[in-house]
């Protein structure tokens, strides 16, 4: 469904991605794990066009999207929930949700999807008219995900959904990631919390200083000594 081949990104003289390749099949949860600065977020940003790649290509459902602008990608069915959640703090929760559906004009279906999102994240229903900036970190993350789903994406790019959240909230979020996937959305998940990520994902890539160091089924990686040592803090 999504094919990244030899993707390179530089910030000025610094090369952030040295040519990485990965692919995501329809219906999968694929996770990209790695340390701070390994290039996980950059990879997502390059896929969704927020940063310009200096080499390589990205294709989605058979068409080349390397140079496609972020807002056009939304129309093609890719939603990106950014690092740090990126909720619009000056807008209400409801307005945030409606912005998620900006590219759509099928009002009845949008209302339906809003209802679906609020069922998935009941906390948001209580806060609909509140400014998004007044939400707790966990609620903001829920809002960011619900908002991304409002685009009715076939593919969801999630950047660090667990960042800065209490363990209790993290497990709720990951539970919901599973549910979203079960409902038919393909997910590319970037995470520092390798433990949780490897639990929900089907396959995983390990990113180290801008290169893919390992890849394979999530369970296998979770069992491998290197990953256990470097990312799971075991042994």
């Amino acid at each position: 469904m999504l094919n990244v081949s030899n993707l390179q990104v530089s910030y000025g003289a610094i090369r952030a991605l040295h040519g990485i390749s990965l692919n995501v099949e329809k219906g999968e949860i694929v996770t990209l794990i790695g340390c701070n600065g390994a290039g996980k977020t950059t990879t997502l940003r390059a896929i969704s066009g927020l940063v310009r790649s200096s080499g390589g290509s990205v294709s989605y459902e058979g068409s080349d999207i390397t140079r496609v602008r972020p807002h056009e990608l939304v129309r093609m069915g890719i939603a990106h929930s950014p690092e740090g959640r990126g909720v619009f703090a000056n807008l209400t929760v409801e307005e945030n949700l409606e912005l998620g559906a900006y590219a759509r004009s099928d009002h009845a279906a949008i209302a339906q999807d809003k209802e679906k999102g609020l069922t998935l994240f009941p906390r948001l229903r209580e806060r609909l008219r509140q400014q998004a900036g007044t939400l707790s970190g966990g609620e903001q993350q829920m809002l960011a995900m619900a908002r991304a789903l409002m685009a009715r994406p076939r593919m969801l790019l999630l950047d660090e959904p667990s960042l800065g959240l209490a363990p209790q909230v993290v497990s709720t979020i990951f539970q919901i990631i599973r549910e979203i996937n079960a409902a038919g959305t393909t997910i590319l998940l970037v995470e520092q919390n390798a433990h949780m990520a490897l639990k929900v994902a089907h396959r995983a890539y390990v990113l180290e200083t801008g290169e893919i160091a390992m890849e394979g089924p999530a369970q296998e990686l979770a069992a491998s000594d290197e990953v256990r040592k470097a990312y799971l803090g075991v042994g």
């Binding site: 969704s48 939603a79 950014p82 990126g86 619009f88 912005l99 900006y102």
Partner: protein
């Protein structure tokens, strides 16, 4: 019993007293008319008129700042341009209709002139953004700021060319009759006052509705908060920025039209009254809280009132001083503006 009379009656008595007859009950530094109700009303009316013009123009500054985070110095030149375009179209229409000077044209001429000026300035604003600012989207903000000054100088100097507007002062033909619609005491509410305030209010209510109750407005607020994430929502960011410039510039044109209508004479290069108009509107945007649409409206009215009241009740010679003193005080006490939020510059 004199002690029983209400303050209102006291005031009425004071204003009924002939002013010229020697010993005034007021301290000498306060001129007698200060106590008169109709002076107060007159001052309020003037403050409202001038304040709504400041507000209209301040909106353009604040909208562009809200989205692109730079001060569009060329904005005040768009106001002047709006005034000139109104003058030229009004003159052309009046000639076409074969009216003699002093003859009032039919009612539709005013709205038509306003519309033409707004559309033309909207197109010019769009073009300026495309040619001058868009190529600098990723450049440091200082570069954009300097470019804005360049655009401003370009507009001023182009306007002075003989085949454009020239340097001769000209006056817009009279579009409205001088009739007084309502008279309260000595205060005449003229048709012109009503048109200026009414047009400004209608435009501002329209903008408020657009920004807070439409999909486009929601997108504008999102872009203003976080350009990058707005793109991820499927918002065509560049188009939203263009629309912002078009709206800001057409409001400026409306400001220029109403200003020309109120004060008639236009000169190029912009003479002091026009320069101050742009500058004070900018002060209004900052005082209200730059980047905040409601702040600009509030700031415009506040600055207008301050100026007119200071002029009437304290010292007319210092009317510009009040405005800029207010700016300094606001910047010292509440740097984000009265309706603005305190923000920390992100590093």
């Amino acid at each position: 019993m004199p002690g029983d009379s209400s303050p209102r009656e006291e005031l009425a008595k004071l204003s009924a007293r002939p002013v010229s007859k020697g010993h005034s009950p007021c301290p000498r530094f306060l001129p007698t008319p200060a106590y008169r109700v109709d002076t107060l009303l007159q001052t309020l009316k003037d403050g409202l008129t001038i304040g709504s013009l400041y507000a209209l123009i301040a909106l353009g500054y604040t909208m562009v700042y809200g989205i692109l985070k730079f001060i569009n110095f060329a904005h005040s030149d768009i106001v002047v341009l709006g005034g000139w375009l109104s003058l030229i179209t009004a003159t052309a229409i009046v000639e076409k209709l074969g009216l003699t000077p002093g003859q009032i044209p039919p009612w539709w001429v005013g709205p038509l002139v306003l519309l033409i000026a707004m559309v033309a300035c909207g197109i010019i604003g769009f073009t300026i953004e495309r040619l001058a600012y868009k190529p600098l989207r990723r450049a440091p903000r200082l570069n954009v700021l300097i470019t804005a000054i360049g655009v401003s100088l370009f507009l001023q100097n182009t306007g002075q060319l003989q085949f454009v507007f020239g340097t001769r002062p000209r006056a817009i033909p009279q579009l409205l009759s001088d009739q007084t619609l309502l008279q309260i005491g000595n205060v005449h509410i003229r048709l012109l006052d009503l048109v200026v305030i009414g047009t400004a209010v209608v435009l501002m209510v329209g903008l408020e509705w657009l920004v807070f109750h439409t999909k486009l407005g929601r997108a504008m607020r999102a872009v203003s908060f976080d350009v990058r994430t707005a793109g991820l929502m499927g918002i065509p960011v560049d188009r939203v920025i263009s629309i912002t410039f078009v709206i800001g510039s057409s409001l400026a044109a409306a400001g220029g039209f109403l200003w020309a209508l109120s004060f008639t004479s236009i000169k190029q290069p912009a003479d002091t009254s026009w320069v101050l108009l742009g500058l004070k509107a900018f002060v209004a945007a900052v005082v209200g809280g730059i980047g905040n649409v409601r702040g600009a409206m509030f700031g415009g009215l506040a600055i207008g009132m301050l100026e007119v009241f200071g002029q009437q009740y304290i010292n007319p010679a210092l009317k510009d001083v009040y405005v800029f003193a207010a700016l300094i005080v606001v910047l010292l006490v509440k740097p984000g503006g009265i309706l603005g939020k305190a923000t920390v510059e992100k590093v």
